[in-house]
């Protein structure tokens, strides 16, 4: 495929009118343009998506991409990054995708501090499969698989990701594009595992625009390196009850990350095989 001036492909867009995905796409396009101005060419970016409405985003960008499986963005992205540390690898995942089917990968990616960025399109509902509850749907949510309402509280993803060892944890909102852009840029620049939970509405199955507009606020990032403060900020909202919903970068620290920086030694593969054969004789 030939890239042209615009980053947006001519693939027909099939998101519903009013979908939060448009804002995420728009913000990300601007962020890539910023990186290009800073000297990182667009071919260095690889987008990895899961399966769900969010995932169509990779078809809509004229950028390298790996359209993977439901829940599996992270292991694919990890392999790409370990194979070529020069690449900037960004996962676009959904909340059902990332927090249900692929939750173990998220925990382990945070633990190993793999240098990738995960952007979760968190609309707290399954859109493409028509409105079932996800791990971040509120208590009592009625969907087609739970007509009586769910009797479980949502996962507080911020607490979970912090507890798993992520070195960059943030929450954004699709209707606050300047903040979303700043967080995306910082996350992609961060040398380690960066997680952004992006609150967005599902225009068809879970439209809570006015709830978010009333409750979100931008938190101070003065204590961004303090883990306990980050936990407290994360605990202000439990993804279910009404309450203040902090947005911003909650935590940012530097820790040893994967891929490890190591010098590429020249090896003579056939000679090393010969040495192994001799050594085992």
């Amino acid at each position: 495929m030939n890239p042209d001036a615009t980053l947006i492909s001519d693939t027909k867009n099939t998101w519903c009118p009013g979908c939060g995905n448009f804002s995420i796409q728009h913000a990300f396009k601007n962020v890539i343009e910023e990186f290009e101005k800073e000297g990182i060419p667009r071919e260095k970016f690889v987008l990895v998506s899961g399966i769900g409405c969010h995932a169509k985003i990779v078809d809509y960008f004229r950028l390298n991409s790996f359209y993977s499986l439901h829940g599996r963005t992270i292991p694919v992205a990890t392999g790409i990054k370990m194979a070529n540390p020069e690449l900037k690898v960004i996962c676009f995942a959904g909340d059902g995708d990332l927090y249900a089917e692929g939750l173990d990968h998220l925990i382990h990616a945070a633990k190993r501090n793999i240098d990738i960025t995960v952007i979760c399109h968190n609309n707290r509902v399954y859109g493409l499969t028509t409105g079932q509850y996800t791990p971040t749907s509120p208590y009592g949510y009625r969907g087609r698989s739970t007509p009586e309402g769910i009797h479980e509280y949502p996962l507080n993803i911020i607490e979970m990701v912090l507890g798993s060892g992520a070195t960059f944890v943030a929450r954004a909102y699709s209707r606050n594009i300047p903040l979303l852009k700043r967080i995306m840029h910082d996350a992609i620049s961060h040398p380690g595992f960066a997680h952004i939970d992006v609150l967005q509405i599902c225009a068809t199955f879970f439209n809570v625009t006015s709830f978010y507009d009333e409750h979100v606020y931008e938190t101070s990032e003065v204590n961004v390196t303090q883990f306990e403060m980050a936990c407290r900020t994360g605990q202000q909202w439990n993804y279910s009850d009404p309450g203040p919903i902090p947005l911003g970068i909650f935590y940012k620290t530097i820790r040893s990350s994967l891929p490890e920086k190591r010098e590429q030694k020249k090896v003579d593969r056939m000679k090393s095989i010969q040495d192994i054969l001799t050594g085992h004789s």
């Binding site: 495929m1 030939n2 890239p3 492909s9 693939t11 060419p41 071919e43 260095k44 690889v46 990895v48 399966i51 169509k56 990779v58 078809d59 004229r62 950028l63 390298n64 991409s65 790996f66 359209y67 993977s68 499986l69 599996r72 992270i74 292991p75 694919v76 992205a77 990890t78 392999g79 790409i80 990054k81 370990m82 194979a83 070529n84 020069e86 690449l87 173990d104 990968h105 382990h108 590429q264 030694k265 020249k266 090896v267 593969r269 056939m270 090393s272 095989i273 010969q274 040495d275 192994i276 054969l277 001799t278 085992h280 004789s281």
Partner: protein, 546 residues
């Protein structure tokens, strides 16, 4: 022709496998071809472990049912295996722990006399074995010295003390010309992967495939590969596909249960046409089954795994040289055809030890198509194979996709594109068939003109090949199981009037593949207790069918 079998038995934790490996190395140093079978239950300490070391003047790939020497570290070894002692056989035993007829060695006494460690009992037993076989000390000493790089002098003192207690019972010939490399089947496969150009190996531990992971992790520096053990087999295969997309040659390894988790990733590799090598070492199923015992019951599963239809390649080695060749060949096939390429093996082969050729393998060169610009990842080609390109490539966009997609890799639900892409995969399968349906992919041995034919694959071929000729049987064995080399196989069966199949499964699997191609077996000899057959056991079953 000298052909000697030794059984070493003891409790898990006694270092039986290690003692066997040193014994095998000693025979290899004396110039013998060596095969070792290891039998152990799925526990860390206490159960009964044994290994069988066989040494012969010709290459061997199976064990015999009678033993010339039994080395007993515990009473159970004598009780369980004493009846299998050959007529002139001898039991060497730890006289402090075991009651038996034969030659006793007071292991703990010798060790404490020399202030040695309990594990040095192995040294005493191996020395005793060499003494009983009539190997002169001036030949034994340098071999033992080489195999005991730690506390060498103390080990040699202990070896000499054991030596002096016993008297020679045989006068074993020393062929000379050794030593040959002595490695496990897993290690021979791993060397093949390395020779084929492997860049990364990703695996989650699972018996009996873990030996590949451990071996490659131990040589990653000098061979320049990456080795990674992530959270699950699901992560394993997807990481490997990430490596592959980014231009690195990646392989994974597992057993049936782990492969179950990999099937969604397998189907992704089929749809997105991402090359990958998968080693599956079979163990007794279903489910957890017998983790440390063998089977050939995953052939049809591997052949059909994954939703949808896509080409794949499956090879089954039976000798160390084949393992090394096929390991390299799997990488060539996977990358040239952009398909999943399998090495299908089993516990018997994976964890068995074999002396093999010291010569470097000579892998076929990879013939990858040059990318055409402007680049389309799924560009249509007569043989269905689009040129590969990995990111970053200035000015080009490289998209792979698990959805049905167009030539650029963009999702499409168009019926025409759906057909085009299905036909593209079909044409790749035709190209792959052309590669596999060649005479060299069907092994013929034994009495090559006999009208009676036995068909076996993988490690069972190793057992049959040792007796086929004695009974004027033609042995025909596919090296490649998928795409099945139909014409080459039918040619190999020319003039055959009776077909017997030997396989380690309860229902028969390869016969189903043969019947798809109109080859109807007359008799199935099936074994499904998790244990490989001794040569004589299978020979007797076959003889009854003649």
């Amino acid at each position: 022709m000298a052909d000697i079998s030794v059984l070493i038995g003891g409790k898990a934790g006694d270092g039986i496998s290690q003692a066997g490996q040193v014994t095998g190395s000693v025979f290899s140093s004396l110039g013998y071809h060596v095969y070792q079978y290891v039998d152990y239950p799925s526990l860390i300490r206490g159960g009964h472990n044994f290994c069988i070391i066989r040494a012969a003047e010709l290459p061997i790939t199976a064990f015999r049912s009678r033993f010339d020497v039994i080395i007993a570290f515990d009473q159970q070894t004598v009780d369980l295996h004493g009846d299998s002692l050959s007529d002139n056989g001898i039991i060497i035993y730890d006289s402090g722990r075991v009651k038996a007829e034969g030659q006793g060695i007071p292991l703990s006494q010798i060790i404490s006399m020399h202030q040695g460690l309990p594990v040095m009992g192995n040294t005493a037993m191996i020395s005793a074995l060499l003494r009983v076989l009539g190997i002169p000390w001036d030949l034994a000493e340098p071999v033992l010295r080489r195999k005991m790089p730690k506390s060498t002098e103390k080990n040699l003192d202990i070896a000499h003390a054991a030596w002096n207690i016993l008297t020679p019972k045989q006068d074993l010939v020393v062929p000379g010309g050794g030593p040959r490399p002595f490695l496990s089947g897993n290690e021979w496969i791993a060397l093949g992967l390395l020779a084929g150009g492997l860049d990364a190996y990703i695996a989650y531990p699972m018996t009996p495939s873990s030996g590949i992971l451990h071996f490659l992790a131990s040589v990653k520096e000098e061979t320049g590969i990456q080795v990674y053990h992530p959270e699950s087999e699901i992560a394993v295969i997807l990481m490997a596909l990430g490596f592959s997309y980014a231009g690195k040659k990646a392989a994974v390894g597992t057993s049936g249960g782990g492969f179950c988790l990999m099937t969604e990733g397998l189907s992704l590799a089929g749809q997105a046409e991402i090359p990958i090598v998968i080693v599956v070492s079979q163990r007794t199923g279903p489910s957890t089954g017998l983790p440390t015992y063998t089977a050939q019951s995953d052939l049809l599963f591997i052949r059909h795994a994954g939703q949808g239809e896509f080409p794949r390649w499956i090879a089954a080695p039976a000798t160390p040289e084949e393992a090394m060749f096929l390991g390299a060949e799997a990488i060539r096939i996977a990358w040239e055809f952009q398909v999943p390429a399998f090495i299908l093996t089993d516990k018997t082969f994976s964890e068995g030890l074999f002396t093999g050729s010291p010569d470097l393998p000579d892998p076929k060169p990879h013939e990858l198509k040059a990318p055409v610009f402007p680049y389309s990842r799924y560009m249509d080609q007569p043989d269905g194979i689009s040129p590969l390109l990995s990111p970053p490539h200035p000015g080009e966009i490289i998209k792979v996709n698990s959805y049905t997609h167009d030539f650029e890799g963009i999702t499409s639900e168009d019926p025409e594109i759906t057909n085009t892409m299905a036909e593209k995969r079909r044409r790749k399968e035709e190209a792959l068939k052309e590669q596999s349906d060649r005479p060299e992919n069907v092994i013929i041995s034994g009495d090559e003109r006999s009208p009676v034919c036995i068909i076996a694959w993988g490690s069972v071929r190793g057992q049959v090949s040792e007796f086929a000729k004695n009974h004027s049987i033609r042995l025909v064995s596919p090296l490649i199981l998928e795409p099945f080399p139909v014409n080459a196989f039918k040619t190999a069966l020319d003039g055959v009037t009776r077909i017997i199949i030997a396989e380690e499964s309860a229902t028969g699997q390869i016969d189903k593949i043969l019947m798809e191609h109109g080859i109807v077996p007359d008799k199935l000899i099936l074994r499904y207790d998790g244990r490989p057959s001794a040569i004589e056991e299978l020979e007797e079953q076959v003889r009854r069918e003649l």
